[in-house]
Amino acid sequence: MSDNAKRPNKVDGVLQGYLDDLLLELPGSSGKPAAAERYNRPPAPPAGVENRVQPQAARSPQPEKPAMPRFAEPEPPKPVLMPPVVVAETAVEKVVADKSVSEKSVAEKVIPIAPAAKPQTELAQPAVALKVAEAKVVTPPLETKPVARTRAPVVPSAPDVSKQAVNKATATSVPEATLMSQKNDTAAALASLNWQSGGGVDCLIFIVCGLKLAIPLPWLGGVHRVSDKITPLFGQARWSLGVWQGEKGKLTIVDSALLMMPERQRSLQDEGYEYFIQLDRSPWAVACQQICDTVKLDQNAIKWRGERSKRPWLAGTVIDEMCALIDVPGLLGLLEDNRRPKRAGAHQS
């Protein structure tokens, strides 16, 4: 970020006040950081490797576990959680085949990662189960980072890190090889959401009606400049700007000012917008006026929202950057909640 952005001034004071209001009116903001859990703020002690990147077969033997955070970060694997099932071996074979990495090379990479003493229960487990989790740990990071940093007007879409892919990764039956590649992408996305890691998580900062918002790059579907016409549909909510036809399908463009801060009574329809940012791989995109920069945010830089927040789109606020961090799955859930039931007889895009 530029120095100007960090220099305290009157505008920043007003903005900071607004950001504080976002959190202060939420009674649970200082207590239980629900957003932190959603964004994989690991509780103490660490929850282990039971996250969404694991194959279902690996998670199935732990029904007594509480509800998992939506984006659990990959922790150093605890072998005791690995399933002693043959299915995992098949999954490993697919993973290894997809990554064109031999089991031997994977094992070599595994060794320095988890050299700690293993519980005795591991003796009864197939070694391949370990390779599943650790093969994901060494998955290369997303390619979205350099793309967003270039601030290109039209950024190519991010790798398959969609919510749909995440959901599929957690499904009970995932037989297709293509799904395995999606799992790899999902694993990469989840690994990149490791807020406690030294590097933090890259986030793209953009501006909507004076408010700076940040979106984690792993959940960024793409950034598009408003060039083609956006077709408004009648009878929609006020915050729906219309539909944009892209090469890979349609996106419904959301007036992020009206949706996220209706109390301000400002609309991008009136004030104009230059870009829209696709949320993950969903058919939704939020409009914005300016793309700023990417920053690395770590756990301590974020003031997480409370679990009783009335703003499901808000993960927390970032004091240093004077911006609000978007909870992408929460925002998508909010949008889907407002969606009417699909009509019969028409094909979905």
Partner: protein, 160 residues
């Protein structure tokens, strides 16, 4: 070979849609529901009629109710122009006219080309949208005329 092609066409029929313009957007209605297209003529207002009814016209001796499509779609009002047309349609066993900015063309769309869009909000008019289709570098909004009005409103129209 022809049997396979026949099955394919049966599964994915080609439909014809009459397109019209309204507030710079293009809409489509099923050609089978369109009876004719008239130039704008004087519309006689009907006292006590609902606000979405512009009035009535005399169509070769028959009285046809003309609906204010802009109001129905919650669009701003606009003056009539030389391109303004009254599209005579048949829906719910009634013949009515809808006032549009202009009539464009007839397009052929496969059923599979018709896509749904996320419909959000609580506006009743959103249910009029049957789907959308990307055609000729623009998004065509397909209108379900049957849902243009509720059963009560159709009955009310019949009583005018």
């Amino acid at each position: 070979m022809s049997a396979i092609a026949g099955n394919k066409s049966a599964e994915d029929p080609v439909l014809q849609w009459v397109t019209f313009r309204l507030e710079n957007e293009t809409y489509g209605i099923n050609v089978m529901q369109v009876q004719e297209v008239l130039r704008y003529s004087e519309i006689a207002p009907v006292p006590g009629a609902p606000d979405y009814v512009l009035g009535i016209i005399n169509l070769r001796g028959n009285v046809v109710t003309v609906i204010d499509t802009r109001r129905r779609f919650a669009l701003p009002t606009a003056d009539t122009t030389d391109q303004t047309r009254i599209v005579i349609i048949e829906a719910e066993n009634q013949v009515v006219g809808i006032l549009v900015d202009a009539v464009a063309e007839v397009v052929y769309l496969r059923q599979s080309e018709i896509e749904t869009t996320p419909s959000v909000g609580n506006e009743e008019s959103a249910k009029f949208i049957q789907g959308v289709c990307h055609k000729n570098d623009e998004l065509l909004i397909l209108v379900d005329l049957e849902k243009l009005m509720t059963d009560e409103e159709w009955s009310e129209l019949q009583g005018l």
